[in-house]
Symmetry: none
Subunit: 417 residues, 2 copies
């Protein structure tokens, strides 16, 4: 089955937002064996959307249209597709009830144009929206057309919960395209590629695709075949070959982030951590608490942005701050140790450094100290990072998670011995 | 002049990367008065690229093609366009010299396939690449075709330095398209649109385009005219008309976020804030510290994820936690008041609630209490949010910033009177 994605929205053509839905849907469709050969973007304009639709119908079996399902007058995807197919728009009672309930739950008044969102194309299949108002719509004409709401926070869960199973049923022969993403940290993309250059050249099934983003590098292995078991074996074998070369930078598989990994490990060994953050200003704690159920391993932390807070809350001695300074290993260690003690945790982790753009205490942006403290000892890690302020903060907390992960693994291995 | 953008690259169709070049180029083209009506993405495939080119030539004056200019075999943009136009590929000496110098400077050996990158289409204009190897190419056929390298770090400077002036010369009359983004919070898109429905209908210069994202709504006003001063006046007039209706939800213009606004206001009045976060786990502090120079108004905060931390660090009475519970107005107020006192700040702000996915204390995900405390009084705001865990956390901290912003404005107005 060949698919294509049409995004509708003048905000995309004005460059206000990036077409992240096309990326997401392409990835999802490839997982279920649908090849995507085209993306298009067109404005909220009936004539141009009809023209793009006509071209798409001539070359694809499946067309997914995103956006233009909102309540305003410039949202005209449903109307245009209905006209294009020569079908009527009709009220869908189920959807209308959902919309009413949505407003009731939020104590907000429903406006008349929201009622427009309860209209669907005659004979269509409805995909409920569990995170917003606009329902999704599926129609089997000569080609399969699916319309999804534009906001990613609505589109993604709708696709996963309703659209993927709906499409899965229609695929005559299940093709098995399977992917596995290997995640690496503390190694650059070019270095990683250099280490496995010959594998990249010679491997064709699975293929290996490196990708760098947000200070991490991933390798995506993609296997294509109609035997699930064989696919799995091929993936395993290639993974093993790769990890023989660069295993020490490998930390996880799939969508699992460093923070997921860290929380799993803390849970596994029934350990807790308390945080003390200066330059990262709560980002590490914020990242760790994105993970549901983290309350078993994380009770809280301290944001000691000023020196005064470092002294008052974490008992960093004034003499240390005036001699070594706040941007120092000494300070990082003191913060980690005292956070651990005050939070009554097994581990303390701290961040102090210069996020930029200006130097601090005569030290350059990107100089970061991470302290880690356990019952046994307290240590400090120095980083020299380049990049913008958000970049430096973002990578600092990832390094923190990575160092703590390694620290716990090492300690637990010793215990196990 | 009507333009369109074609991105070439299988990695886009596989969903490995997002088409950020299309966003960037659209924005740039709109600044110089070129309307973009279409984006397309197609793989590294000669037949499909030719077909997409044929469609594009029929509807646009300018086609910008990105990607597929690399040294490897699957890079075939130049070859395909040359064939499509019936022109030859020829060596460009200038480009060849540049490539040789590039390798010499880096002490690296030039490979034979790099020499391929010195080929251009006969009669083409060459845009030098100051940050990589692949040069850009411009051809005036029936339509204007421009080919640019895929990596954004090469494409962007090439566009700004060479392509924008090249296009500028060709535009017969310089049009000035100017945009202004008005930012609103605490009002839904449909509600906002309802309030200004008649303006949306009747306004054509500037146009008004609503956009909802991440719990905020923006209105983009876009004016088109050849007199800069008049454009500015038209924007001002329309802004005023809009704010007469929905001014109370308006908080800023352009790229300025709620947190930027909050930090500016705190600085303006020389005030400080201390944070106390439970469900948001440091996200508010982390957001406020993304802004450089925040140390004047923010000294730090507390992450009291567990009840124990709420008692130990913020002196929330055990009786309060067992009676009203941690998810309560009482707890939010206690947290805000004591954070303010412990941090010796002018304001305290607190967050407690249920981020989900599971209920807590029998209370549903999305129930959030925000406490704000100043010298004069302490109050609590209740939110009922829907959505995923990150969504609920993300919107909670935005509401926090918004409420605090309004609070400070109100207090300061009183002082000014």
């Amino acid at each position: 089955m060949n698919g294509e994605i049409i995004a509708v929205g003048s905000e995309l053509l004005l460059g206000q937002i990036v077409n992240s839905n096309a990326k997401y849907l392409s990835e999802q469709l490839s997982h279920i064996g649908i090849n995507v050969y085209h993306h298009s973007v067109v404005g909220d304009n009936e004539t141009r959307l009809s023209e793009v639709l006509a071209v798409a119908c001539n070359r694809s079996d499946l067309i997914i249209i995103t956006g233009g399902l909102g309540p305003t007058k410039d949202d005209l995807t449903k109307e245009t597709v209905a006209k294009f197919l020569g079908r009527n728009l009709v009220y869908d009672q189920e959807t209308e009830k959902r919309i009413e309930a949505y407003f009731k739950q939020r104590d907000r008044t429903m406006t008349e144009n929201n009622r427009k969102q309860a209209m669907i194309i005659e004979g269509a299949h409805v995909f409920p929206n569990d995170h917003g108002l606009a329902c999704g719509i599926g129609i089997k004409a000569d080609v399969q057309i699916i319309m999804l709401p534009g906001p990613p926070s609505e589109l993604k869960p709708m696709f996963e919960t309703y659209v993927a199973p709906y499409l899965g049923k229609q695929l005559k022969k299940q093709a098995f395209i399977e992917s596995r993403v290997l995640r690496f940290f503390d190694i650059g993309e070019s270095q990683l590629v250099k280490e496995i250059d010959d594998l990249l050249e010679t491997q064709s099934n699975p293929t290996i695709a490196p990708l760098a983003s947000d200070g991490e590098v991933t390798l995506r292995l993609t296997v294509n075949g109609d035997q699930k078991e064989l696919n799995r074996t091929l993936l395993d074998e290639t993974q093993e070959k790769i990890l023989q070369r660069v295993g020490k930078y490998f930390y996880g598989v799939g969508e699992e982030s460093l923070f997921h990994k860290l929380v799993s490990l803390l849970k596994e060994y029934n350990k807790t951590v308390t945080t003390a953050e200066s330059l990262t200003g709560g980002l590490f704690a914020s990242e760790i608490t994105t993970i549901p159920g983290v309350s078993n391993v994380f009770s809280g932390g301290y944001i000691t942005y000023s020196n005064k807070m470092k002294m008052d809350q974490l008992f960093v001695p004034e003499s240390l701050l005036s001699e070594a300074g706040a941007i120092s290993c000494e300070c990082a260690k003191e913060m980690a140790k005292n956070a651990k003690a005050k939070g009554k945790s097994d581990y303390g982790i701290s961040f102090t450094g210069v996020a930029g753009p200006d130097p601090l205490e005569g030290k350059p942006p990107g100089l970061v100290y991470i302290g880690i403290s356990s019952e046994e000892k307290t240590e400090c890690f120095e980083l020299k990072l380049a990049g913008s302020r958000p970049n430096i903060r973002g990578r600092s907390v990832k390094y923190g998670a990575y160092y703590l992960l390694q620290w716990i693994r090492k300690e637990m291995e010793k215990v196990d011995e």
